[in-house]
């Protein structure tokens, strides 16, 4: 029986990728974690994220669905071979999920699908799609979270509630820690949250609430006022908090705008991001100003980096789509559900279309989900940072390596994807070599 304590683990619970986690391991199981937030601890302890104490079912074996809806367990190699057969006949690949895979696997996947017509639908899709579009026009700069900790004297959380998405962002980097030029921590920073409703963020930052249809108008008002015009907020809103926010912006010397997915739940969300990106680029004339998206999945930023570095936005056969519900299943599609539960989000019409067009559903997953229950072939993989090792990019783009905790027989998503495209060829990964 082995009982050991390991320190400085990387947590793949969210895009913060906290690297200070301690864990007590008893045989091949984590029995206690220290420094991990509730989401991270649930991942380490094998529990459900939002239902404290309930175990989360793991996908332990690869399998295929037979015609009589019975499952048949298969060796991994055979299951991959089946998936390869399905892909061979695909006229279009629909790749969903992606944000919970290692960077190595994503790199191999994109190399493999380079010449295939592919619809990419990441689970953080609305944010990534809007950010790519904003990036094409404004190129808003990112900064490292360590620089935020050391220098930022103004942090604005626009449509974001990091306490629900990345719980340790505030204490580790965003607001409270003491940095080189922010020696008094939160006292050296002005912090604002802009949201459509009052949230817990109001207890730790200034809070400006705003109706969702006025968000763009408010950014425009701030931009105009910053350029020297009058502060003209939409009718029904008080100008006072916006004037105070603008005053704080103008007084600050290092500003960071964290953009959450809140505005993107509405159709005008991309326009809000666009306007904010424009204002951020104007603010950079007076002081360093950055726009950082708050992504939820632990490697959504890794997906974005690799997608862009593979020329994804220029590839005529590829399309990045934010919203899964805009996917119209058609004959010849093959649905690759990669560590994401797409059937949870599909509409009934989409599910019917998948059945009607006999669209093969190939699921690669570490957990049992609605999608694995509907899949034609399931490829069971290990969890990154526990069963298998792999790289991931933090929400600011910094790459971290999450090492496995025990010698488990689980396959990594990298190995599975590599075998899926070519069991014989060696596909290099120039992202970074493994240590």
């Amino acid at each position: 029986m082995t009982h050991k304590t390991v320190t400085s683990l990387v947590c793949c619970g969210c895009s913060c990728l906290c690297d200070d986690i301690d864990a007590v391991i008893d045989e091949d199981r984590v029995v206690e974690t220290a420094n991990a937030c509730r989401w991270g601890a649930a991942r380490f302890l094998g529990l459900k994220k939002f239902s404290s104490g309930l175990p989360r079912a793991r996908c332990r074996s690869s399998r295929r669905c037979l015609h009589d809806k019975q499952w048949k367990d298969l060796p991994l190699g055979e299951a991959i071979s089946l998936c390869r057969d399905h892909l061979f006949f695909a006229r279009r690949v629909v790749a969903y999920g992606l944000g919970q895979m290692s960077s190595e696997a994503l790199w191999i996947l994109m190399q493999g699908l380079r010449d295939w017509e592919t619809l990419w639908i990441p689970s953080d899709g609305p944010m990534l799609e809007a950010f790519v579009e904003a990036y094409k026009r404004q190129a808003p700069a990112l900064t490292h979270l360590e620089c935020v900790r050391n220098q930022a004297d103004l942090v604005v959380f626009w449509g974001a509630n990091p306490l629900r998405s990345t719980p340790r962002l505030l204490s580790r980097y965003g607001l409270f820690p003491r940095g080189r030029f922010t020696e008094r921590g939160a006292e050296d920073r002005k912090a604002w949250t802009v949201d459509i409703q009052a949230t817990e963020m109001g207890r730790v930052t200034e809070l400006a609430t705003i109706p969702s249809d006025h968000e763009k108008a408010c950014v425009e008002a701030l931009r105009r006022a910053h350029a020297g015009g009058p502060m003209e907020v939409p009718a029904g809103l008080s100008a006072k908090p916006w004037a105070t926010l603008l005053k704080d912006v103008e007084k600050s010397r290092y500003r960071v705008f964290f953009f959450g997915r809140g505005p993107l739940y509405h159709e005008h969300g991309p326009a809000v991001l666009e306007e904010l990106a424009l204002w951020v680029s104007e603010l950079r004339a007076s002081a360093p100003t950055f726009l950082v998206p708050i992504l939820c999945d632990f490697n959504s930023m890794g997906f974005l980096q690799i997608f862009l570095s593979c020329g994804g936005s220029a590839n005529p056969k590829w399309r990045l789509q934010g919203d899964l519900r805009r996917w119209e299943p058609r004959p010849g599609d093959v649905l690759l559900a990669l560590s994401g539960d797409c059937f949870w989000f599909l509409t009934e019409d989409q599910k019917n279309a998948v059945r009607q067009h006999h669209i093969p559903v190939l699921a690669l997953s570490a957990y049992e989900t609605t999608t694995t229950a509907h899949a034609d072939v399931v490829l069971a993989v290990g969890l990154q940072g526990l069963d298998v090792s792999g790289q991931a990019a933090r929400l600011d783009g910094m790459t971290l390596f999450a090492e496995k905790l025990w010698a488990d027989a689980a396959a990594s998503d990298e190995a599975v994807i590599r075998k899926l495209f070519d069991p014989h060829a060696e596909i290099g990964n120039p992202c970074a070599p493994r240590p």
Binding site: T7, D22, T33, C37, W39, R168, V204
Partner: protein, 149 residues
Amino acid sequence: MIQKILEQLPGTDCQMCGMSCADFAAFLLSGDLSPQECPVLQEDAYADRREALAALLESLKARAKSGHLIDPDKCNGCGICLIVCEYNVANDPESRRGKGPSKDAKVVLRIVNGRVVLADETLCTRLLQAADKCSKCQDHCPTQAIVLI
């Protein structure tokens, strides 16, 4: 908390216990008096309040010497309390920079299994100095998981 206790008392200020209801609530909170010492509360009309008060006082048994009453169901392990804690900041450089304390560090609060726990309440500033000198963990807790009594 005194207000919550006071809401469950008869509120008649009859002085039968020798003091006002507000003073009686303060003594209930400190544990120096028990609900049985309020004669009016023992009447049948106040049975519901008696039960509610008993449940309230039962929940207070979980509070630490330093006055911390932590609701683990509300805590999401954000770690803000660790970094604003006066003792942690003064004595643990890791906490000062935002990292979680190492396993050997002497700190008041820790995050264990995703929830805040009192690692060593005797180090809390509230015990070393006057209790009302520091309430930063409570004041900054966004989910109100920490209550100081």
